[in-house]
C-alpha cells in the first residue's frame, strides 16, 4: 500500500478527546465505554465517553496490582509455612528454628510517614479532578490544577524518600544487632519482604517524578489526569500492602 500522510477520519476520531473535543469532566455513567451498562442503545453511536482512556489505564493498573498482590501473597504464605515448619526430634521435643524477631521501633514512624504520603498524593489527585480548574485548563486559561497539584506530588515524593531512608535505618539497626539477611529464617523474610516492598516504592518515586514532568509536558488535560491518577492508585496500594506486611512482621512473629 502506498505511504500516505493524509489524515483519515479514523485518526481524527481517535484524537477528538482532550483539546478540541469534549471536556474531560463528563460524569455520565456510560463514560467508560464498556463494562456495566450492556444496553448499547444507551451508548452514543460512533464515539465513546471522555473518560474512556482513563478507565482503560486504570483497569490496566488494577490488573497489574492484582498480579503484584499475588506476588506478596506468595511471600506471606511462604512466611507462614516456614513459621510452622517445626518438627519433633527422636526424644519428642518440638524443634523449631523460628526465632521471633523484634522489629525496630522506627518502623512505626515509617508507617506514619507512608500514610501521610498517601494523604498528600490523594490531595494532588483531587486537584486534578477539581471540575472548575479542569475546565479552565481545558479552555486554555492557564493551568490552575497543575499549579495546585504539583507541590503535593513533590511532597509525596519527599515523604516516600523519607520512608525509604527510615527502612534503611531499620536495616542498619538490625544488622548492628547481628541480624543480617542470611542469619536465620526470620531475618530472611524480614529483609526479603521489606526489600521487595522498597523496590516497589522506588518504582513509585520514579513514577512520581515522571508524573511531575508529565504535568508540565503533556498537552492534553486528559493525559495529565491519567498520569497522576494511576500514580496515585499505585501509591495508595503500596501503602495498603505495607500496612498488611507491617502487621505481619510485627504481630505474627
Amino acid at each position: 500500500m502506498p505511504a500516505t500522510f493524509t489524515r483519515t477520519p479514523a485518526e481524527i476520531d481517535r484524537k477528538d478527546t482532550g483539546i478540541g473535543g469534549k471536556p474531560p469532566v463528563d460524569r455520565r455513567p456510560t463514560g467508560g465505554g464498556g463494562g456495566g451498562d450492556d444496553n448499547w442503545d444507551n451508548h452514543p453511536r460512533g464515539r465513546r465517553g471522555p473518560r474512556e482512556l482513563l478507565t482503560r489505564y486504570r483497569l490496566g493498573l488494577f490488573f497489574a496490582l492484582a498480579g503484584d498482590l499475588m506476588f506478596f501473597i506468595a511471600l506471606v504464605s511462604a512466611f507462614f509455612v516456614r513459621q510452622n515448619a517445626g518438627h519433633f526430634d527422636p526424644r519428642d521435643n518440638y524443634v523449631s528454628d523460628w526465632h521471633p524477631l523484634a522489629v525496630p521501633p522506627i518502623l512505626w514512624i515509617n508507617t506514619a510517614i507512608l500514610l501521610l504520603s498517601s494523604l498528600s498524593i490523594e490531595v494532588a489527585r483531587q486537584h486534578l479532578f477539581h471540575e472548575v480548574d479542569v475546565m479552565e485548563e481545558w479552555l486554555g486559561l492557564g493551568r490552575p490544577a497543575v499549579r495546585r497539584a504539583s507541590p503535593w506530588l513533590i511532597a509525596t515524593a519527599i515523604l516516600g524518600a523519607l520512608f525509604l531512608a527510615g527502612q534503611w535505618i531499620a536495616w542498619q539497626q538490625l544488622s548492628s544487632q547481628g541480624l543480617f539477611f542470611a542469619t536465620n529464617q526470620n531475618s530472611h523474610f524480614f529483609y526479603l519482604i521489606t526489600a521487595t516492598h522498597g523496590i516497589h516504592l522506588i518504582l513509585g518515586i520514579i513514577a512520581l517524578t515522571i508524573a511531575l514532568c508529565a504535568l508540565f509536558l503533556l498537552r492534553r488535560v486528559e493525559m495529565r489526569q491519567i498520569v497522576v491518577d494511576c500514580t496515585a492508585w499505585y501509591w495508595h496500594t503500596m501503602g495498603l500492602f505495607w500496612i498488611f506486611l507491617f502487621v505481619l512482621l510485627t504481630c505474627f512473629q
Binding site: 477520519p9 479514523a10 448499547w40 483497569l59 490496566g60 498480579g67 511462604a78 509455612v81 516456614r82 530472611h188
Partner: protein, 568 residues
C-alpha cells in the same frame, strides 16, 4: 492494519511495530524457533536413550548429565516458549482485538514490550548452552536443593542462573500481556459486543489471562527466593545436613524444598490450563465453523471454561503425592483433581455432540484446520483418560516419575496443544499472509503427525507400567533390570524420528504458501466472527458469534456485524 504502520518505513515497521497482527506473527515465529530447537533436543534424547555411545552432531557423546540438560531445556522451551507463547500471546495478539471489534489492543506499546521481553527471555535461556558447565540439569521443575546449589552439578552454576533470569523475565512479560489482554477485553469491545456475544476463544483468553496473573506472579516470587538462596546466602529452600562431594554445607542451611514444590506447582498446574484453554476455545469455534452449526451449549461452554480455570487453581498438590505431604492433603487434592475431570468431560461431550449433530451439514471434504481440531480432540480424550488414574494417590505412588506420566502429559498437553496450534495456524494463515495454506500438504502433514504421535506416546504407557523411571539417561549399563525395555524404547525412538520428520512438511507448506499459496479473499472459511470482517471504525455487533444456518430459510451464515435482515 493500523495507519501508523503503513506510514513507517519497512525495517522500523517490523522492529518497533505496535500493530497487533505483526506482534502476533512475531510471537508465532518465536514459538516456531523454540519448537524447532525443542524438537531437536528431544530427538537427541531419544537417540541417546537407545544408543548412549553414539556421537551426536554439535554435542559429541552425551554424558549422563548432558542428557539431563537436554531434558531440562526441552521441557522449558516447550512449556514456556511454545505452549504458552504460541496459543496465549501469539494467537491472542493476532486475533483477539479483531474478534471483539477493536482495531488495536488497549495498550499497544505494552504489547510490543511484552514481545521483546519474551524474545529476550528466550535468548537468555538458549545462551545457557554456551556458558561453562552448560545448561541446567535439574529438569524444568528445578527442585531444590539440586537447583539451589551451584556445586550440585555441571550446569547448576551459571546455567541455572540463566534459567532463573530467563524465567523471571518470561513471568514479567506474561503478566504484562495478561494485563493488556484483560484490559482490552473489558474496555475495547465494540458496540453491541456483550459478554454473551463473545466468541468462545475470547472467553478462553479471558480465563487464561486471569490464571496468568495468579500463576506467574507466584512463580516470580519463587524465582526471586531461589535466586536469593543461590547468591545471598539465605536458605528458604536448602534443607539442613546437605552433603555434596563429602562436604557438609554451611550450618545455617535450614530451609525446606517442599516450599519450592508448593510455590512451583501452584504456578505449574494452572500453567497446564493456560496452555490448553485457548485450544479448547478454538476447538469450539472451529467445530461450529466446519459443521456449519451454532455451538452446542454456548453458555455451558463458557461455564465449563470458567470452572476449569477455577479448579485449575486448586489441584497443584497432585504433583506432590509422593513428596511426604500430609496424606489428608493428598486426599483433598485427589478430590479436586477428579472434580476437574467433570467440566473437561462436559466439554468433550459437547464437542462430540456437535460433531454428531453436524454430521450432515458439515463441510465436505474436511479442511486441514478441522482435521487438526479433530486430532486435538482425539489426543485430549486419549491423554485425558489417564488423568483420573494419576489423580489417585495410591496409583500415583507406583506411577509417579515413570514413563506413564510422560505419556499422559505429552498426549493431553503437548500433542493436544500443538495440534490445536497447527489448527490455528492453518485456519488463521489468511489473516497473516492473505493466502491459504496448501491443502494436500496439510492433509499429509496431519495424517503422518497423527500416526507418528500415537506411535511415539502410546507405547510410553507400557514402559511406565513396566516401571521405567523418567530422566534415566540409559537403560543398559551397571544395572540390567531395565534392559528388557530396550526394544520398546527403540521403537519409540523410530516413531519420534518419523514424527519429527513429518513436521518438515509443515515448514515446507509455510514457506511455500506464504509466497505462492492460493489467495484467500476476505472470508475463506465463511466464518461469522469479526476477525474476518474488513477493519472499520465504529464496528457494531447485532448477534451472537456462531449463527450458522440459524434461520433455515435464509443464508448459510450470518456474520456478527450483519444488520438485521428486515432493515436491509
Amino acid at each position: 492494519m493500523s495507519l501508523e504502520v503503513q506510514t513507517q518505513t519497512a525495517p522500523r515497521r517490523w522492529l518497533f511495530t505496535t500493530d497487533h497482527r505483526s506482534i502476533g506473527i512475531a510471537y508465532l515465529l518465536l514459538s516456531l524457533v523454540a519448537v524447532a530447537v525443542g524438537t531437536v533436543l528431544s530427538i537427541f534424547m531419544r537417540i541417546h536413550i537407545i544408543a548412549p555411545d553414539l556421537k551426536l552432531p554439535f554435542w559429541g557423546v552425551v554424558p549422563p548429565e548432558g542428557y539431563l540438560a537436554l531434558v531440562t531445556m526441552h521441557g522449558t522451551l516447550m512449556v514456556f516458549f511454545v505452549l504458552t507463547t504460541g496459543p496465549v500471546n501469539g494467537l491472542a495478539s493476532l486475533v483477539l482485538p479483531a474478534q471483539i471489534g477493536a482495531r488495536q489492543m488497549a495498550l499497544p506499546l505494552l504489547n510490543a514490550i511484552g514481545l521483546w521481553l519474551t524474545a529476550l527471555s528466550l535468548a537468555v535461556l538458549l545462551s545457557a548452552f554456551f556458558v561453562p558447565g552448560g545448561a541446567p540439569i535439574s529438569g524444568w521443575t528445578n527442585y531444590p536443593p539440586l537447583s539451589a546449589l551451584a556445586a550440585a552439578g555441571p550446569g547448576q552454576a551459571t546455567g541455572m542462573d540463566l534459567w532463573l533470569v530467563s524465567i523471571g523475565i518470561f513471568c514479567f512479560a506474561s503478566i504484562l500481556n495478561a494485563i493488556n489482554q484483560l484490559t482490552t477485553m473489558i474496555s475495547k469491545r465494540c458496540a453491541g459486543m456483550t459478554w454473551m456475544r463473545l466468541p468462545l476463544t475470547v472467553w478462553a483468553w479471558l480465563v487464561t489471562a486471569i490464571l496468568i496473573l495468579f500463576a506467574f506472579s507466584i512463580l516470580l516470587a519463587a524465582v526471586v527466593m531461589l535466586l536469593s538462596d543461590r547468591h545471598l546466602a539465605t536458605s528458604f529452600f536448602v534443607p539442613p545436613g546437605e552433603v555434596i562431594n563429602g562436604a557438609l554445607l554451611a550450618p545455617h542451611a535450614n530451609g525446606s524444598p517442599m516450599l519450592w514444590l508448593h510455590l512451583f506447582w501452584f504456578f505449574g498446574h494452572p500453567e497446564v490450563y493456560i496452555a490448553i484453554l485457548p485450544a479448547m476455545g478454538l476447538t469450539s469455534s472451529l467445530l461450529a465453523n466446519f459443521t456449519r452449526r451454532p455451538v452446542l451449549g454456548y453458555r455451558f461452554m463458557v461455564a465449563t471454561t470458567m470452572a476449569i480455570g477455577f479448579f485449575g487453581l486448586l489441584v497443584w498438590g497432585h504433583h506432590m503425592f509422593v513428596s511426604g505431604m500430609n496424606p489428608y492433603a493428598g486426599t483433598a487434592f485427589a478430590l479436586t483433581t477428579m472434580a476437574i475431570a467433570v467440566p473437561s468431560s462436559g466439554k468433550v461431550l459437547g464437542w462430540l455432540g456437535q460433531l454428531l449433530l453436524g454430521r450432515n451439514s458439515r463441510v465436505h471434504p474436511l479442511p486441514t484446520p478441522m482435521l487438526f481440531t479433530l486430532g486435538f480432540l482425539s489426543f485430549f480424550i486419549a491423554g485425558g483418560l489417564t488423568g483420573p488414574i494419576l489423580a489417585q494417590p495410591v496409583l500415583d505412588a507406583y506411577l509417579h516419575n515413570t514413563y506413564f506420566v510422560v505419556a499422559h502429559f505429552h498426549l493431553v498437553m503437548a500433542m493436544a496443544g500443538v495440534f490445536s496450534l497447527f489448527a490455528a495456524v492453518y485456519y488463521w494463515f489468511p489473516l497473516m499472509t492473505g493466502r491459504l495454506m496448501n491443502e494436500t500438504l496439510g492433509k499429509w502433514h496431519f495424517w503422518l503427525s497423527l500416526i507418528g504421535a500415537y506411535a511415539t506416546f502410546l507405547p510410553m504407557h507400557l514402559a511406565g507400567l513396566a516401571g521405567q523411571p523418567r530422566h534415566y539417561a540409559q537403560l543398559t549399563g551397571s544395572t540390567s533390570s531395565l534392559g528388557s525395555l530396550l526394544p520398546l524404547q527403540t521403537g519409540i525412538t523410530h516413531s519420534a524420528l518419523f514424527l519429527a520428520t513429518a513436521q518438515l512438511l509443515f515448514l515446507i507448506n509455510l514457506a511455500w504458501s506464504a509466497r505462492r499459496g492460493r489467495l484467500a479473499g476476505t472470508n475463506p472459511w465463511q466464518a461469522t466472527t469479526l476477525e474476518w470482517m474488513p477493519d472499520k471504525a465504529g464496528m457494531r455487533v447485532f448477534r451472537g458469534p456462531y449463527e450458522y444456518r440459524f434461520r433455515t430459510n435464509l443464508v448459510d451464515f450470518v456474520p456478527q456485524c450483519a444488520e438485521e435482515p428486515e432493515q436491509e
